[in-house]
Symmetry: C2
Subunit: 208 residues, 2 copies
């Protein structure tokens, strides 16, 4: 049975956090309260991506949080990660499910109700919905606003996380949306104190 | 049992050949004499890469030639391709073999004897050795020269193809190197007559 906690969902970013600090920042974030890590890489060789995933999986196993890989199913399979997170221009959900099996996690990005309903129907285990607030970490992410969280929440049964520009300052605006957690990048990755940032998010997400 | 013919090995390039012409050029090349196709893509979404691989696999099955995918094991697995071709900075051979199984093909790029021997030992089915001649299609490929083909040939037992700047004009220089075939990009992909270019290569490769 799949059992995962989306409440403080950390998405990595090696533009904000140099690769040599990645494990350290992730460890601090989990010790502070992060419940899941998604490794997202762009413009990196498959070998380096793989090596990073293997090292991070080892850490995540030790800390007992799931590791998901963004987009690259092969890296997920080869590293023994707990699943993948895919966007609308990544591999089709069915193709991923066929190769990953039913025991591992598939998360899907959804920017509207139609994408959300479609992803649920095709077997997604959770949805990342956003961008909730304007964000600098994903240039192509349209700002869909807080209200989209409510709309998606009432349209699907699977867990959802809000993503996009969420931080310790604005998280309270998400109260009442019914989300299962918040996915953050800069709020932790660019923080001087990733542990404290994760802890503050954890505390605030529990009150949503 | 793996059974593949490396003699005229076509590597795709969508900088030279627009995507909408890719299937057409590949079909002509195979009808002219190309014996294997490697789909190489950079800077494309996983979804588009997958869709292209699925379409090309359908064509290759019809024409009875193997399709290999460059680097992306997930695309190979999801599209049902016949194998992958990996470089020195792609996934480790063992990781690929573990996921791809023993029936599908793993080719490995080697630029020196050490890399060639290592790849053979770790389970590569064939080697791509080069760059034989200076080439514009892969910026990072060091020109290792014709003599490297002879050195690698005497160091390993698995089949090898020469790659890098090989065309219908210079192919005869490879006589006596003991290679099993030539891998080409521009010679076919940028040709006005891909079928004739493949046929000429085929004729000349048989005389090496």
């Amino acid at each position: 049975m799949k059992n995962f906690d989306l409440s403080v969902y950390l998405v990595t970013d090696t533009d904000m956090c140099p690769r040599e600090n990645l494990l350290d920042v992730c460890e601090k974030a989990v010790l502070g309260g992060a419940t899941l890590i998604q490794l997202r890489e762009k413009n990196i060789s498959s070998r380096l991506f793989y090596e990073e995933a293997v090292a991070l999986k080892q850490l995540c196993s030790k800390l007992n949080v799931p590791l998901l890989i963004n987009d690259r199913l092969d890296i997920a399979l080869a590293s023994g990660a707990d699943g993948v997170h895919i966007g609308q221009s990544d591999l089709p959900i069915e193709a991923v499910r066929g190769l990953l099996g039913n025991d591992r996690i598939i998360g899907v990005s959804a920017g509207c109700v139609k994408e959300a309903v479609n992803a649920e129907k095709r077997g997604a285990d959770y949805l990342g919905v956003g961008a909730v607030f304007p964000t600098s970490t994903k240039d192509d992410a349209e700002n869909v606003g807080i209200d989209m969280l409510r709309k998606v929440r009432s349209a699907v049964k699977i867990p959802i996380v809000g993503i996009g520009g969420i931080n310790t300052e604005n998280i309270e605006k998400l109260k009442g949306t019914g989300i299962d957690g918040v996915a953050v990048v800069s709020c932790i990755m660019a923080s001087d104190d990733p542990k404290a940032a994760a802890a503050e998010l954890k505390e605030k997400v529990e009150k949503l």
